[in-house]
């Protein structure tokens, strides 16, 4: 591609947040080292965490958070209609994240616990990834979302290329770093079926992987459960570990 002449109009990008801690958006503000360079390529037209402009159409819409209320559903449809490319940011948006743990209990109990007697004012749904409602073009994993991965996707989209979708597990990054496997230190770790891209940051610092980036495609969950139980966890405890970040898939995953 030629970059000698800058495009006349910059792509318009927008950020939206749904059910989440907004940590991912804040993490983007941590991009400040790169922010000026980013703004050379795009105009940010909507970003509640940092500004309050609104726009009608977006070249790229970045979505943070999971879908968990009827109004979320309406809003995400509306954004999808106005966005050429839609990118899910961070675990909540990509997999439902830890929000989806609420799906493990009857929804009315959850509603009551959170809102008490006012629960009828607050309709709620099982927590869902964005892709459960609308078509998602690209996903950026991590809790919070990974900045390097955000930049890879961002650059590819601005250049009009397809970003490479990572699909190998955390163990790969551990091996590239020549880490001692935590299983050899008597720990258990979800790295074997968790999507890489974090540079195996947790195992590299002696902390087992809790699976925050979600599962690799076609993860062999039964084999993972066998590994966990062979290393001393009860089946119940093993399932609980797997569900922490992967509850959304619960109905067809373990039963």
């Amino acid at each position: 591609m030629s970059t000698q002449t800058a495009p006349k109009t910059k792509p318009q990008i927008a950020f939206f947040d749904f059910t989440s801690c907004e940590g991912c958006q804040l993490n983007k503000l941590n991009l400040e080292n790169h922010l000026l360079e980013i703004l050379e390529h795009v105009d940010i037209v909507e970003f509640r965490e940092a500004m309050d402009d609104k726009a009608d159409a977006y070249d790229i819409a970045f979505i943070e958070g999971s879908i968990s209320t009827p109004s979320c559903v309406e809003r995400i449809h509306d954004i999808r209609r106005r966005a050429k490319i839609l990118v899910a940011l961070g675990s909540c948006a990509v997999t439902g994240g830890i929000n989806a743990m609420k799906n493990l209990q009857p929804i009315e109990d959850v509603r009551e616990t959170v809102y008490g007697k006012d629960k009828y004012l607050f309709p709620t749904l099982p927590a869902m990834p964005v892709s459960a409602i609308v078509k998602v073009d690209y996903e950026i994993h991590g809790c919070p979302m990974s900045i390097p991965e955000f930049l890879v996707v961002f650059k590819a989209l601005v250049m009009g290329k397809q970003p490479i979708k990572p699909d190998s597990p955390v163990c790969v990054e551990c091996k590239l770093r020549e880490n001692e496997c935590l299983y050899d230190r008597g720990m258990v770790c979800l790295g074997p079926i968790t999507l890489s891209g974090c540079d195996a940051i947790c195992p590299s610092f002696g902390q087992f992987c809790t699976g925050c980036r979600g599962l690799v495609p076609d993860a062999n969950k039964n084999a993972m459960l066998d590994i966990l139980t062979d290393h001393g966890l009860s089946l119940q405890e093993a399932e609980k570990r797997l569900l922490l970040f992967n509850s959304y898939k619960q109905p067809d995953t373990f039963k």
Partner: protein
């Protein structure tokens, strides 16, 4: 061949002496229970009694990640990244890891030579060391004894109080001649260390076994237990597959072409443009790995492409054992093919006894 004696207490001095000839890289403690080849700064950290290192020394010649070239999108030019090849002395290498380097030499010098690999292979000195085979080593089954000295300049064979030092090349002579603490070699009866872990058949029969195993149920059974994490590839000293990625900077004007290790157990390894994946199923990827080690290259070279280091098994969190896979296939082969051909004989004998 010259032999000397090296006492345990003189090893740090020996390491320091070697450092005058080049960078010394040797096994050091890594993590809590593991070892890793590292450049030695403190000779007292060198560990010569170890079972295996997390990665073999292939990491020096084919680094896990590597920048191949830098490019500019504004004027469509590129420059290759210079390869450094200082004098390096690898101390404390096991015979199977040395053999693995010799195999990679073959892979990377045939057909299109791999310039970066071959450049890094220059100026290397290898000092072998013996080891006690543990539950995972099975090198003997693929034709490599503990005491195999092929490829080494020096070989240190452990005895009670130290090592017998065999000088195998001129380079070996050069780096030992001024080290005065070497004593006269002791009269020690040659011992051949035993391996507990064994492949059932001689390795030269394995291509035949593999030939008959394409449709074996073993592949699917193994795939049930395997998570496809790629560890078995990434720790293997004879695996050499890599992937290449182009990265651009945030200005979108310059970038680099980088490569990193890849492995055939990973799901998208055999995926190509257009969305086709030639080995979508874990079972077919397992079969591919085993065939790479005992059939495909073996058919061409007559040698197994596995050195029996045991890493793929020791580091597999699912406890999948390569020896077990090969032995199960061999059992199957024996039952279906060997028995079948000998069946008439059995019947005849039965006939006679009737």
């Amino acid at each position: 061949m010259n032999k000397h004696n090296l006492l345990l207490q003189n090893i740090p001095d020996f390491v320091a002496h070697l450092q005058t000839y080049g960078e010394v890289h040797a096994p050091c403690q890594k993590g809590e229970n593991s070892f890793s080849f590292e450049q030695v700064t403190d000779p007292s950290r060198v560990v010569l009694d170890y079972a295996r290192t997390l990665q073999s020394i292939r990491k020096y010649f084919l680094p896990p990640t590597e920048r191949l070239l830098n490019f500019s999108l504004t004027d469509n030019t590129f420059t290759k990244v210079a390869i450094e090849n200082n004098h390096r002395i690898f101390l404390g290498v096991h015979s199977y890891d040395m053999k693995a380097v010799l195999k990679l030499d073959f892979n990377f010098s045939h057909r299109t030579p791999e310039i970066n690999y071959l450049k890094r292979r220059e100026n290397c000195t290898f000092i072998g060391v013996s080891y006690e085979p543990d539950d995972y080593h099975f090198s003997r089954s693929v034709g490599i004894t503990v005491e195999n000295t092929e490829g080494f300049d020096l070989f240190l064979d452990r005895h009670e109080n130290g090592y017998t030092v065999q000088v195998l090349t001129e380079r070996g002579t050069e780096i030992t001649k001024d080290f005065t603490a070497l004593g006269e070699a002791l009269e020690i009866p040659e011992i051949s260390r035993q391996f507990k872990n064994k492949i059932k058949f001689n390795y030269n029969r394995l291509p035949e076994v593999m030939e008959q195993s394409w449709n074996s149920p073993v592949w699917e059974e193994v795939a049930q237990r395997c998570v496809g994490c790629g560890t078995c590839n990434l720790v293997c000293p004879t695996c050499y597959c890599f992937n290449m990625v182009d990265n651009v900077d945030l200005k979108l004007t310059d970038g680099s072409r980088d490569r990193h290790w890849d492995g055939c157990l990973l799901s998208s390894f055999a995926a190509v443009a257009g969305g086709e994946n030639f080995r979508e199923k874990l079972a077919s990827r397992q079969r591919h790995r085993i065939y790479r080690k005992f059939k495909y290259i073996t058919d061409k070279t007559g040698d197994p492409w596995c050195v029996g280091c045991g890493r793929c098994t020791a580091y597999c969190t699912a406890g999948i054992s390569i020896v077990e896979i090969v032995n199960r296939l061999s059992d199957e082969f024996e039952q279906t093919h060997l028995r079948k051909s000998s069946a008439p004989v059995g019947q005849k004998i039965q006939g006679v006894s009737l």
